[in-house]
């Protein structure tokens, strides 16, 4: 089944980013097609957050180019900006405001805002009146993360970028989030990029995955094909679970050789 056709929504060409002498991104090439639901995997500190920030133009790369919606991300038009939803890793932002105040504030910043959806999500995800009027810095980590997700979904974005969006949620919270993602976001053909360590979530919801290793996208493809052993360039490996695949890709080179995978 062919993935969505069309010119890439996100195109990163030869993007490099240095922090001091450390090379976090090293001539990275990555393309995401419209409607793709892609999971980004990588070790802690490998630069997933940096990659997503460079993708959105929040950081200037030291080399290379990033285009979103066929526009250079540095000169993104206002209309395109209104089409992006971002859930950063830090969920305690604007924490001196209450959820209601924070959402009102963002509503004023976006031309298109789905108030009904926001209200529905708040109710379904446990935000009763008391919670809606409690300062965000007094909410628990899970509540803050859920609020962060609601804020990103509120303006019906065409591109949704999530950086470890469910790290503080319990299994029920994660299942609710996944259902929302499936039922609303993916149904509408939104492009979703999310980085997470929770592999079971990725297996359910992502159709493609990409592995970030040594500053590059080491492996990318349909999750089903990769699980069944495809490694691209005609290389095949034994079928394995996603966890084993992760170990395989992220592990050291001697392990790669033992499994018959080109390092």
């Amino acid at each position: 089944m062919s993935s969505q056709a069309g010119s890439p929504l996100v195109r990163m060409s030869s993007v490099s980013k240095f922090f001091g002498s450390q090379r976090v991104l090293d001539h990275l090439d990555w393309q995401i097609r419209p409607g793709q639901v892609i999971g980004l995997l990588g070790r802690n500190g490998a630069g997933k957050s940096t990659l997503l920030e460079c993708m959105l133009g929040l950081r200037e790369p030291d080399g290379g180019k990033v285009t979103l919606f066929d526009e250079d991300v540095r000169t993104l038009s206002d209309a395109r900006r209104g089409n992006i939803g971002y859930v950063p890793q830090a969920s305690e932002l604007f924490d001196w405001l209450t959820p209601t105040q924070m959402l009102d504030y963002f509503k004023a910043m976006y031309p298109r805002w789905n108030a009904a959806k926001v209200d529905g999500l708040l109710s379904r995800w446990g935000f009763n009146d008391t919670l809606r009027n409690k300062a965000i810095n007094k909410l628990s980590g899970g509540e803050q993360q859920r609020l962060s997700i609601i804020r990103a979904l509120a303006h019906d974005p065409a591109l949704l970028v999530l950086d470890e969006p469910v790290s503080s949620l319990d299994p029920l919270g994660r299942r609710d989030f996944l259902r929302e993602l499936v039922g609303d976001v993916i149904e509408r053909g939104t492009t979703v990029v999310f980085s997470t360590h929770i592999l079971s979530d990725l297996e359910r919801v992502a159709f493609d995955i990409a592995f970030l290793k040594d500053g590059r996208i080491a492996l990318q493809g349909g999750i089903d094909a990769l699980l069944e052993g495809e490694r691209g360039a005609g290389v095949r490996a034994a079928p394995m679970s996603l966890e084993d695949l992760y170990m395989d890709v992220m592990g050291d080179e001697s392990r790669d050789l033992a499994h018959g995978v080109a390092p």
């Binding site: 200037e60 924490d95 910043m109």
Partner: protein
């Protein structure tokens, strides 16, 4: 291997040494080394000089001062660390450590108090010195110990310091009574007892209360995140104004004003309502207290005192006008997450437009801050002095302060390291000196009445020039949000 009983002392010193070494681990910082070198050179040099002059007493005192300062800094640092080491779990699982920590804290406090008393060479100084040392140590350690005894101690410290602060002379009889040996003995005993109890109290030994207090203390001692949270808190007075402004802005959103909300309530212009109100209240309260003391107790304050105190108060308000925009810079550095979100909103606009909008909003906030501080200052001066000359002088000082306020308000915020603080200070000092010279020259030629107005006008011109320079830099720079991401 159980050590022999008679080696208990040796064990104790071993344990003290171990705990000390663990507590004092910290990275070498240049500032610390420089300060230490400065103290050693200053006091040590003084000791050498006085020794050469055969003034052995002074020499000994100065050398003693070097040792005492080292002891003071170490003990204060130790207090902070030791409180952290005494976590609820450690207190229950390692009761020996807690005992040693209390002993070391007490020992250090006594050594310091006795040492400084020896410096003054009079027993009368023991109670206040011990008190100040204890208060200093506790503040450095935890910044807010909700202990009744501690509050008493702080009150005591303030009372003893009040005569110095307010510089009004106590009635002679009272002063003699306070300095007599029985009184000193009683005060010393009281301080020792209360201090010992206080030190034992700030090292709790586990349990629910300890755990709760620990959570509160962690928030204050501050992991970076907690410090961030504190920096973004709403002021007690201006919080309501901030929320009202937020509501109004949400109804009629303008890009610049909406962007400023990312900096939190303390970076908003409403923050100054609380600041100015508080300071005005304090100023009025001191004047009221002086008036009441005069009327009720017949205390005489020389006219000189009143004028002096008021001048000091007003001068500090001029400093407030000068540094009114410092918080803006701090907020910019600590709200990077919020800034990232805003950079992605359509209302914020494209990169080129973004900086212009932000610069306009920052300028507006900065000007409001400065104007409010200056207005409050002039209003108070008007109410209490009504002297035209003083008013002109103060107005000129405010204009000069405006330059400090505008100096680092605008600029390239996208870079991590902004142009050096030291360089800015030197630059400002030079500018101010130059303006003083020019105004003086003008006054010499045209009459002394021209000095302050001239200085004021030059200050205004300088403020405008600095603002324009900052504006140009900012507009030519990459997008300011998120701040500090480059370099």
């Amino acid at each position: 291997m159980i050590a022999a009983r008679d080696d208990a002392w040796g064990d104790a010193w071993d344990e003290y040494g171990r705990i000390w070494r663990v507590a004092m681990v910290r990275p070498k910082r240049r500032r610390e080394i420089v300060a230490a070198a400065f103290i050693v050179l200053a006091f040590g040099g003084g000791a050498v000089v006085t020794a050469l002059q055969h003034r052995w007493e002074w020499s000994a005192r100065l050398l003693g001062a070097v040792v005492l300062f080292w002891l003071l800094f170490s003990w204060v640092f130790f207090m902070g660390r030791s409180l952290q080491m005494n976590s609820p779990a450690n207190a229950r699982l390692m009761p020996r450590q807690r005992r040693r920590l209390v002993q070391m804290a007490l020992g250090g406090w006594l050594a310091l108090s006795l040492g400084f008393t020896a410096m003054f060479w009079t027993w009368r100084m023991f109670p206040p010195v011990a008190l100040y040392a204890l208060v200093l140590g506790t503040f450095a350690a935890s910044k807010r110990v909700a202990d009744a005894v501690f509050r008493l101690l702080v009150l005591g410290a303030l009372c003893t310091a009040a005569p110095l602060l307010a510089s009004f002379p106590l009635p002679d009889a009272l002063a003699a009574l306070l300095a007599s040996p029985p009184a000193v003995l009683a005060a010393g005993a009281a301080v020792l007892l209360l201090g010992a109890r206080h030190i034992a109290a700030i090292y709790p030994d586990g349990g629910d209360r300890h755990a709760d207090a620990r959570a509160r203390m962690q928030a204050l001692l501050g992991s970076g995140h907690a410090r961030h949270a504190a920096a973004k808190g709403k002021g007690w007075l201006s919080g309501a104004f901030y929320l009202a402004a937020l509501k109004r802005d949400c109804r009629a959103p303008r890009p610049g004003t909406m962007l400023m909300h990312a900096l939190g309530p303390q970076g908003h212009w409403t923050a100054w309502i609380a600041g100015v109100a508080g300071l005005t209240a304090l100023y009025l309260a001191t004047r009221l207290a002086a008036y009441a003391a005069h009327r009720l107790f017949g205390m005489q304050f020389g006219q000189g005192f009143l004028v002096g105190a008021s001048t000091v108060a007003l001068a500090s308000m001029v400093l407030l006008a000068a540094f009114c925009n410092v918080q803006l810079g701090r907020q910019l550095r600590s709200t990077r997450g919020e800034q990232a979100l805003l950079r992605l909103t359509p209302l914020a606009g494209a990169a080129a437009l973004f900086n212009r909008r932000l610069a306009a909003a920052l300028l507006k906030t900065g000007l409001v801050n400065w104007m409010m501080a200056s207005a409050a200052l002039l209003l108070l001066a008007l109410l209490f002095h009504a002297n035209g000359k003083v008013l002109v002088c103060l107005a000129a000082l405010c204009c000069a302060a405006g330059q400090v306020a505008m100096a680092r308000l605008l600029g390239d915020f996208s870079r991590e390291s902004r142009p050096g603080l030291l360089e800015s200070c030197i630059f400002l000092v030079l500018i101010l000196a130059a303006e003083v010279l020019v105004a003086w020259a003008m006054a010499r030629m045209g009459g002394w009445r021209l000095f302050w107005p001239g200085f004021g006008v030059l200050g205004l011109a300088g403020s405008v020039a600095l603002a324009v320079r900052g504006w140009k830099t900012m507009l030519a720079a990459p997008s300011s949000f998120p701040a500090g991401r480059i370099g």
